[in-house]
Amino acid sequence: MNCATCGSASAACGNCPIAPALALPETLATLAVGARATVHRLASASGADLRKLLALGVLPGVELEVERRWPAVVVRMGFATVALDAGLAEGVVVTREQ
C-alpha cells in the first residue's frame, strides 16, 4: 500500500516529513508505533467498513495507542486490543496526543 500523496510505501508514513506541512488529517494508518491518539471522526469508504469499526468499538472520542503497524494495525483501547488492516485504519481520522 502506497501513500496517495507522495507515492512511497505507507509503512514509512509514521515519520512522514511532509504530512504536517500539508495539514493532512492524520489517520490510524499513518500513526507510528507507540503513538497515542483520540479518534476524531470515522471517514470509512463504505457502510460495511463503518459497521466493522463500530463492532470493534472504534468510535469518536475513544483513546487508543498503536502497538503494531505490521502485518496489520494493532491498537490498544483500555484493556482491549484490536487488529484492523490498513484499509480500515485509513477510515479512522485521529488527533494525535502531543
Partner: protein, 661 residues
C-alpha cells in the same frame, strides 16, 4: 464451536403462549454477548453440559441449547454465537441477533468482560429496550480484579435497574448467584432509553417498543436486512422516516456513528464511579505478542507450531504409533478374531456373517476404521486445536497470515475454518459462517473441498507415504500449489469486494486441562455422531454391492480411469470407497500399500488424486445446506475434474521425468 443438534436451534426460546406462571420464575435463559467473554463456559457451568469454549472470537456458529435440572423445574438455557453489536456484520452475528430478538419472555443474560465494561454496556443499554428480563454478567472478574478495575457491582445494578452478577466461569465463582438472579429477574424499565433526537428519529418509523423498536433503530443505522423488513411493513412511513434521518444526519452511516457516540457518552456517565480509574500499566502479554506477531519470529513460530502440533503429534504419533498399535495389536490380534469367532458360532447364514464381519462388514470395515484409524487421529487433532484456541493463539495466526490470504481473496479470519479443515472439513464448512462476505465463504468452501485433507485422510496418507519421504514432499507440494492457484484464480474470477480484516485480540491465556479435554471430547462426540452412521451405511452399501456383483461392475467401470492416471486396476476399490468417506479411500490405499501392490510413483499419484477428489458425503450435505445445491454440485464437479487432471499430470511426470517407479 457449538453445534446445535436440532434443526430448529434458532428461535427455540420464542415465547410459548400464555404468561409465565407466578412462583416458578423465568425458566428460559439466553446467553448473549461479544465473542470471547466466556458465554460457552458459563453455559457449561449452568447446564452441566460442556459444549465448547474458545479463546477465539467466532467459533460458536449456532445457538446451542441445554437444560438446567437443579432446583426444581427444568430451565432451558441457550447459548448464542458472539456478537459485538446488534448492527450485524457476519452470518453468525445475524443468527445471534435473531435469537435475541425472539427471546421475549426469556431472561437474557448479557455476558461481558468485567475489564471492558465501557465497550460492552452500549449493547446492555440496547437490550434494556427488549422488555424481557435482563441480567448483566460481569465475567472474567478475576482478571479485572488483578488489573485493579473490578466494578462496583451493587452500584452498577442500581444505575442500570437490573440484576448484575460478577462471575469467573472457569472456576465456577458466582455461577450459583447468577442462576438465582436469572430465575427472579424482572422485566426492567428502560430507564436509559434512546436519547433525543434519536428517539424521535426511531419514533418516525414505529410506535412499538421492544424488539420492533430496536429493529427500527438498526434499520435506520443502515442494516439492509432489517431495513427491507421494516420498509415492507409500512413503505410510506419508512420513506418519510428515511427522509427525516437524511435531512438531519446526512446518511445511515452518519446516523449510526452519531447514535453509537451518544450511547458511548451515556455509558461513560453510567460507569462514572462504578469502575476505578484504570491504572496505566502495560499489557502483560505485550512482550510475548511482539514475538508472536513480528514476521521474523512469528512466521518461524507458525511453522514450528504446525510441525510439532500437527506433523509430529497428529501425523507421526497418533496416525503412526497409535493407529498401528490399535489396528495391528488390539484389533488384528484380539478383537477381530474374537468377533469373527463369536459371529461364526451364532450366525449360520454366510451373507449375514459377511455383513457383520466380512471384508466390508459393519464391524470389520465400519467400526474398525472408525475406532482404529479415525478416532486416534481426529482426537489428537482436536486436542491440538483446542490448545491453540484456548491459548488465544488462533487470532494471532489470523493476523499473521492476513496479508498472504488477501492474495487468495480471503482475510485472516479464513485461517480458522482452513485450519479446522485439517481436522474435519465438514465442521470447517459450517464455520465459514464466521466470514463476512459470500465471496469469502465460497472460496473457503471450495478450498476445503479440494485442497485441504481432513485429519483422517491426512493421517492415513502420511502413514502410507512415510515409506518414501520424497513422496510426501511431492504430495504436499502439489496440494500447496493447487491451493494457491485455485485460491488465486477464484479471487480473480469471483465478483465482489476484496475482504477487510478486523479482529479483537483476546489476552493470551494458559489453557486449563478441564476446558481443553472437555472441548476435545465434545468435538469428537459431534464428529462421531455425524460420521459413524455414514461409516455403517457405507459398509452396508459395499456389502450389498459385493453380494450382488454390482461392486465388481462399478470397480470395472473405474478401471479405465485408473489407467488414465497410471494406477493399477487394484486401486479402483479405494476410489470407490472415497465416494463414501475421503479417508475410507485413503484407508483402502493403506491396505494396498501394506500388500505392496503400489510402487512409490503410483502411491503418490493415488494419494494426490484421492486428496483432491470429491469431499465426503457429510461435507457435501453441509455444503448443500450452507451454500445451496447448485454451488455444492459445481464444487463437486470442479473437484473431480481437478483431481483427475492433476493426478494424471503428476502420474505422467513421475513416470517420465522423476525417474522413480
Amino acid at each position: 464451536m457449538s453445534l446445535a443438534t436440532g434443526a430448529s436451534a434458532v428461535g427455540v426460546l420464542a415465547a410459548p403462549s400464555g404468561p409465565v406462571a407466578p412462583g416458578i420464575g423465568v425458566d428460559r435463559w439466553l446467553l448473549a454477548g461479544a465473542p470471547n467473554v466466556g458465554k460457552s463456559a458459563l453455559f457449561g457451568r449452568l447446564t452441566g453440559l460442556y459444549v465448547t469454549v474458545s479463546n477465539y472470537p467466532g467459533t460458536s456458529v449456532e445457538v446451542t441449547t441445554g437444560t438446567r435440572a437443579t432446583g426444581g423445574a427444568a430451565i432451558l438455557v441457550a447459548d448464542t454465537p458472539g456478537l459485538y453489536a446488534l448492527l450485524a456484520v457476519t452470518e453468525e452475528e445475524r443468527v445471534a441477533r435473531h435469537a435475541i430478538f425472539s427471546a421475549r419472555g426469556a431472561a437474557v443474560l448479557h455476558v461481558v468482560d468485567a475489564s471492558h465494561l465501557d465497550r460492552a454496556l452500549p449493547l446492555t443499554l440496547q437490550l434494556l429496550a427488549l422488555s424481557t428480563p435482563l441480567v448483566l454478567v460481569c465475567n472474567h472478574l478475576d482478571e479485572a480484579r488483578r488489573r485493579g478495575v473490578a466494578p462496583d457491582i451493587a452500584l452498577l445494578s442500581e444505575r442500570l435497574g437490573i440484576p448484575v452478577v460478577g462471575t469467573v466461569a472457569t472456576t465456577g465463582e458466582g455461577v450459583e448467584a447468577l442462576a438465582g438472579a436469572a430465575r427472579l429477574a424482572p422485566v426492567p424499565s428502560d430507564g436509559w432509553g434512546l436519547p433525543q433526537p434519536f428517539a424521535a428519529g426511531v419514533a418516525a418509523v414505529t410506535d412499538e417498543g421492544g424488539a420492533a423498536r430496536l429493529e427500527a433503530e438498526l434499520a435506520l443505522c443502515g442494516d439492509a436486512e432489517l431495513a427491507a423488513s421494516v420498509a415492507q411493513r409500512d413503505p410510506h412511513r419508512w420513506r418519510d422516516a428515511v427522509a427525516a434521518r437524511d435531512a438531519r444526519w446526512g446518511s445511515a452511516e452518519d446516523f449510526a456513528v452519531a447514535l453509537a457516540t451518544a450511547r458511548r457518552r451515556m455509558t461513560l456517565a453510567l460507569l462514572d464511579g462504578v469502575v476505578p480509574e484504570a491504572p496505566a500499566v502495560r499489557r502483560r502479554d505485550a512482550a510475548l505478542d511482539r514475538v508472536l506477531l513480528s514476521p521474523w519470529t512469528g512466521l518461524p513460530l507458525v511453522a514450528l507450531v504446525l510441525y510439532v502440533g500437527f506433523y509430529l503429534f497428529v501425523g507421526r504419533f497418533a496416525a503412526g504409533t497409535l493407529v498401528d498399535w490399535i489396528e495391528r495389536v488390539a484389533f488384528d490380534r484380539w478383537i477381530t478374531p474374537a468377533a469373527s469367532a463369536a459371529v461364526g458360532a451364532v450366525v449360520p447364514w454366510a451373507p449375514l456373517r459377511a455383513l457383520l464381519v466380512g471384508e466390508y462388514g459393519l464391524f470389520s470395515l465400519g467400526v474398525r476404521y472408525a475406532v482404529a484409524i479415525v478416532l486416534p487421529i481426529v482426537g489428537a487433532f482436536f486436542l491440538v486445536f483446542a490448545l491453540l484456541e484456548d491459548s488465544g493463539y488462533l487470532p494471532r495466526l489470523a493476523l499473521l497470515l492476513d496479508r498472504g490470504l488477501k492474495r487468495l481473496g480471503l482475510s485472516g479470519r479464513a485461517v480458522i475454518p482452513l485450519v479446522l479443515g485439517f481436522g474435519c472439513n465438514t465442521m470447517a464448512t459450517l464455520v465459514t459462517r464466521t466470514l463476512e462476505t459470500r465471496r469469502e465463504r465460497l472460496i473457503v468452501t471450495l478450498l476445503l473441498a479440494l485442497a485441504i485433507p481432513c485429519s483422517a485422510q491426512l493421517g492415513v496418507v502420511l502413514g502410507i507415504l512415510s515409506i518414501y519421504p520424497a513422496a510426501i514432499a511431492v504430495w504436499a507440494g502439489v496440494l500447496v500449489a493447487v491451493f494457491v492457484v485455485v485460491g488465486r484464480m477464484a479471487a480473480l474470477v469471483l465478483p465482489g469486494e476484496p475482504p477487510s480484516f478486523y479482529l479483537e485480540l483476546p489476552p493470551l491465556r494458559t489453557p486449563t486441562a478441564r476446558n481443553v479435554l472437555q472441548k476435545t471430547g465434545a468435538r469428537v462426540q459431534w464428529y462421531f455422531a455425524e460420521i459413524l452412521p455414514l461409516f455403517l451405511l457405507a459398509s452396508v452399501i459395499l456389502w450389498l454391492g459385493d453380494l450382488t456383483g454390482a461392486l465388481r461392475a462399478a470397480t470395472r467401470l473405474l478401471e479405465p480411469v485408473m489407467r488414465f492416471i497410471h494406477l493399477p486396476d487394484a486401486a479402483a476399490p479405494a476410489f470407490l470407497y472415497g465416494f463414501f468417506r475421503r479417508d475410507f479411500g485413503a484407508a483402502g490405499l493403506y491396505d494396498l500399500a501394506r500388500h505392496g501392490v503400489l510402487g512409490p510413483a503410483a502411491l503418490t499419484t493415488a494419494a494426490v488424486t484421492l486428496t483432491l477428489f470429491v469431499p465426503c458425503v457429510a461435507q457435501f450435505l453441509v455444503m448443500r445446506k450452507e451454500r445451496g445445491i447448485r454451488t455444492a454440485a459445481a464444487v463437486l464437479a470442479f473437484a473431480t475434474v481437478v483431481a483427475f487432471t492433476v493426478g494424471g499430470a503428476v502420474g505422467w511426470l513421475l513416470r517420465h521425468v522423476g525417474g522413480w517407479v
